[in-house]
């Protein structure tokens, strides 16, 4: 099908990138920043941003895969997994789609073998959501269904639901929602895999 992605950009709001701007992703610097950030457990901002912790670990890993303590991370993820199969953003929090995704991404990066162990529990989660069973204990953000769903598709290869496609060819959070670059990029990535 024809895919007109919102690649036109907002014309008059384009930022002019100077010719001397860095053009490589400074992975090491990013990793170092996040690692040092993690050591500030007594820092107010660190604690307040705990609702992002699992995702932070994921982004951290991109720059520091070789030097990360795998055991520590795996233990952390394990302690964040709940009965229903979902994974919370950090210890003691409620299971959450976004952070289940981050954890899945982390696991797939670290140890593909071990991921299979978690995969069975994830499959259970998928079944629950597929059956439209919403449990209050699981903070289901339907708005992010597509984001999560598309990444899960990457792993499990199921049928895409195009009900969220809009007049401009982009995708929104739910049917009827405006096109959102986050959804677009996920679905683009998914559609590129066979």
């Amino acid at each position: 099908f024809v895919f007109l992605i919102l690649s036109w950009g907002t014309w008059q709001k384009d930022v002019i990138i100077q010719s001397d701007a860095p053009d490589t992703l400074l992975l090491e610097k990013q990793g170092n920043y996040i690692v040092s950030y993690g050591s500030k457990k007594d820092d107010y901002e660190y604690c307040v941003s705990e609702y992002l912790r699992m995702s932070v670990i994921y982004w951290d890993l991109i720059g520091q895969l070789h030097s990360m303590n795998r055991e520590e991370i795996l233990t952390c993820i394990q302690s964040c997994q709940h009965e229903c199969g979902g994974i919370s953003v950090s210890i003691g929090r409620g299971p959450h789609l976004l952070y289940t995704l981050s954890a899945v991404q982390i696991l797939s990066m670290i140890l593909w073998n071990m991921f299979r162990v978690y995969r069975n529990k994830m499959a259970l989660l998928l079944e629950i959501l597929g059956g439209k069973l919403i449990r209050d204990s699981l903070f289901v953000q339907w708005q992010l269904w597509l984001y999560w769903g598309s990444w899960m598709l990457l792993m499990w290869k199921r049928q895409l639901n195009l009900s969220c496609m809009n007049f401009d060819g982009g995708f929104g959070c739910r049917p009827g929602s405006e096109s959102h670059a986050g959804q677009d990029s996920c679905l683009l990535l998914v559609s590129c895999t066979k």
Binding site: Q12, D136, Q141, F167
Partner: protein
Amino acid sequence: HGRLKVKTSEEQAEAKRLEREQKLKLYQAATQTVFQKRQAGELDESVLELTSQILGANPDFATLWNCRREVLQQLEVQKSPEELATLVKAELGFLESCLRVNPKSYGTWHHRCWLLGRLPEPNWARELELCARFLEVDERNFHCWDYRRFVAAQAAVPPAEELAFTDSLITRNFSNYSSWHYRSCLLPQLHPQPDSGPQGRLPEDVLLKELELVQNAFFTDPNDQSAWFYHRWLLGRDCFFPQLIPRTPCLLLKGTVDGGPGSPLAVEWRTPEGRNRPSHVWLCDLPATSLNDQLPQHTFRVIWTAGDAQKECVLLKGRQEGWCRDSATDEQLFRCELSVEKSTVLQSELESCKELQELEPENKWCLLTIILLMRALDPLQYEKETLQYFQTLKAVDPMRAAYLDDLRSKFLLENSVLKMEYAEVRVLHLGHKDLTVLCHLEQLLLVTHLDLSHNRLRALPPALAALRCLEVLQANDNVIESLDGVTNLPRLQELVLCNNRLQQPAVLQPLASCPRLTLLNLQGNPLCQAEGSSEHLAELLPSVSSILT
């Protein structure tokens, strides 16, 4: 003494650090208490009090919204209706204050949705008014728009009213992508099509009114993309949309001389690539005994099991082929039907856009719209001019050059298909057209000779499998690296691939499935330089008698 003691910057820093430490202690204490109480099952108002302190500053703390919901559910059972009403009022007030702090927090909006969904007598009018207020502050806040859609659905607000709301926003400020988007959802709702008809169409009077509205918008502010995007969508509203037909057809074979009815043959349909996916082309094999050489003709009728569609074609004795075909021009395959009125409107739009383009030569939206209008009006008549505009557009927007090349290729192919109508064409010349991509290949089902030479194709894609009658394919002088589409072509005899980018013999694997391929020309490809490639090729394609490298 009596002078104000002014802190030094060091002292200031220290004071700040202490303040943050204090803040952290309170934060952690509150959080701890909440979790402890939750663990112990003490879901009471104190939890509400504590969570409101934390959420007020940090509404993204998702787990706490969960806690609040658990408490509210508990209290629902315990409290009297009056007490509950007070509680709900307080909750709504609290939510609004959270929204003022951060109007884009998923957690807050979700909680409000949840709450409103549970109330016995929700005040939807107030919620709509809340949305209007928040959209006044930020008319692109998609959280608010989504919430508004939720409210409109719950309160059964007529789409016409919501459309009027978008009217008011657009009149105030044309640069309103969200409003245009909402219109694109509301209009089809307001004008539903019968199930049997093509979906997504809009009645002409509605279309013309929208065109007028959107024209005002992009002439007032040509640099805003919203209106141009919406206009493009409008241009496509009358077109034929191919629909997925879930029913499988059955085949009825009539073979008797006296024209008596035959009984339906059970056949299995498959796609050319063998994958069970939606496809333009379907194949079936007839039972060996179904054709009788003695008969002067056979009539094939394909019936969709619901009985609402039928196609029939005749195979004459001694012939290899027979077909029935709907004309591309009759069905307006690539563009919409034009009434006199619509044609006039689009023509004047085209003229106005050309004037605008002279004033704003750097405006890419205008250039693209000119192209789209010309396609809508008369693709063949405007072909030359369209190609010129593509040149200009590529110069103005070089970052989208590849996309534009592909779009241009698509339009050229459409034109070729349209031109084919004026002669029963089985030989198609598409060489030297600067094509970067192939599409609408299912329209070329009857083509026996296809010339794709001297273009910029990178691949012969899987969709090429639709060309079941293809005998000769010239694809030399392209940049082809992949031949996935040259599979199971039952009549392909000759394939010319000189001067491409075929790297290794393995790339030619798909060709092994073409039973009649006898001539293959690979001269001028990188693979010719490789050691032992001739042997490898002979091994790969044993039935191809002539392989030129």
